[in-house]
Every structure is written in C-alpha cells, then in structure tokens.
Symmetry: C2
DNA sequence: TAAGATTGAATGCTCAATCTTC
DNA sequence: GAAGATTGAGCATTCAATCTTA
C-alpha cells in the first residue's frame, strides 16, 4: 500500500468518465453471463475461452497463452477448463515441447456449442452496446478502449 | 433465445472496439478488487456501496436505490451488506415510510475505513486507467461510456 | 530456484424460493 | 397479486499451497 502524503483526487471530468465506466464494468458481465447462461448454460468467460480455442491452430492453445488471451489467472482458467472438460467441450493434453505444459483443445461438441451460442450472443452484444452507438462512437471507443486495455495488467 | 435466421456478425471495426472492451471489463475488476482486498480487505463492489452511502443524506439509502446506484441485484446487495454489517461498517434499519423497505446506513467505522482506503484506491485508478490517457481521451471516454451505460440494463 | 499448471478452502455471486407489506 | 427484501444452495473466483519439470 503506497500512500502518498497528498492524494490527487479525481477531477470532475475524470469522474464523468469513471462513473459510467465502472457501471459498464459491473453491468456488462451480468448481461452477457445471463444471456449465455439461460440460452446455452455457460458463462461469458467460458464462451470467450471456447472462441479463443476455436480460432487457434488445430483448435488448441497452451494453458498460459489461453489465460493471457482471455485475461484471467491460470487458476481461474484451470477451474473453468475443468468445467468445460466435464461437459465434453474441451480436452486437455500434455504439451509436446515442454513437459510442464498443458494444452487445451476444443472438441467437435465444443464447436457445435459455439455455433449454437453465437447468434444469441452477438444479438445481445448488439442490443446492449452497439445498437446505441454511431460509427464515429465505435471508432472513438476502439481508440480509447485500446489505450486503456494496453495499459491494464493483472 | 431469439435467433434470427441470419445473424449480423460484428464488423472488423466493431471487433476492434469489442475486444479491448471485454478485456477492460475482465481485467478492471480484478485490478480494483486486488488492490482493495490486500490493502483494506474489501471488494470494489463493497467499496462502491460504502461511497454511495457516504455521499447520501444522513449516510443512508434504501436497499433498492442503493442496488440501482451500484448496478447490482438486490440479492447481491443484500449479501454484500450482510458482510459489511458483520464488520460494523454498515447498519440496517426499517424504512420510515414503507413497511417493506430497509435502509442501509454507513457507520462511523465505515467512514473511517473509506478514508483509509480511498488514497490507495484512487492511486490504482490513476495508474490503471487515467495516467495513460490525455485530457481529450478522457472527454472521449466520458462521452462514449455514458452513451453505453445509459443503454445498459441488467 | 523458477515456470507451468492444478487443487482445495474460503468468499462472492446467481437463481429460485420465500416472507412481509403494499 | 406485486414490490421490497432476504435466504440458502450451487457455481465461479481468489488465494495460498502444492506438484512437476526446466
């Protein structure tokens, strides 16, 4: 805990950005999780894991790369992959080159689940976020969101 | 599950906004929770609850208003307030006007916790988000984040 | 000793059920 | 019956400990 003697509080301009941002950060997972849960029974993080795998060569990635891609801890990923594995959507195997490594691979059933889930998910992403934005807004968003995301480390 | 015959997938421009946005939405809670947890032992949602209460008249709010302000379900709020209450940072009381209502009120200890927590929290908010943004970025962010947040419902 | 990954316990969140008052 | 709020069960996430290989 590094406590400076005098804190530079957020300005009103910063607050006007911060308040809606935490609102988004709180609400968006609820909205995405709920849609995916009720429709196909997975969380958004699990959906994200499956999409990363489906886009990878041979449908497989090292656990640590996958964790980086989805921006979650290895522990969280390991638990999530266990759940996906239990449902038959993912399999695990030892990595070829590194004896310590594990790779997660999406199964055919996993790809089918993704096909089933994708339309409803995209529809929700549109209605929750993009439908209310102009093209200019989207460019602005890409711009500033990328700048924040780059700087953000776990 | 409303599945249209033909899905309008995200364009590459939309993807360029969406990917960093989910990265932020995934990482920011981890970053904020970790700082507050290790420094003062509360989550960011609990911190947010306390700040809302501290800013309210008499330091108190109806549970349902508080839930709206923090953008979480009543159930989640009720559990969180129970935890805060157990630590002596919040008390509950029956609402005056409505026999069904409950009000949560921040205690003196709760205000002290907030004073203790605030500098470290603001420092983290700065280093994680604002330090890497120009004034123009912040205006853009406020603009587009407000537009998204307005449209976003649980 | 460090890196990759997993595990179990503790805590937080969601969902459905419930209770009380309107 | 609906609105405000709480509760408990089940699942998700964090943290620290552990194991294996580099």
């Amino acid at each position: 805990m590094t406590t400076p003697e005098t804190t530079r509080w957020l300005s009103s301009e910063e607050m006007e950005a911060w308040l809606p941002l935490i609102r988004i950060v709180t609400l968006l997972p609820q909205v995405l999780d709920r849609q995916l849960r009720t429709d196909v029974g997975i969380t958004h993080v699990q959906y994200h894991i499956l999409t990363r795998l489906s886009a990878a060569v041979d449908g497989q990635l090292r656990m640590s790369e996958l964790a980086d891609g989805v921006a979650i801890s290895l522990s969280r990923l390991s638990h999530a992959v266990s759940t996906l594995e239990r449902h038959g959507w993912v399999t695990r195997a030892a990595a070829k080159d590194d004896g310590r490594g594990q790779t997660a691979m999406i199964t055919e059933e996993g790809r089918q689940l993704l096909q089933l889930a994708a339309p409803g998910h995209v529809a929700k992403v549109r209605s929750a976020v993009f439908d209310n934005l102009t093209e200019a807004d989207i460019t602005q968003l890409a711009d500033v969101a990328n700048r924040i995301a780059e700087n953000l480390e776990p």
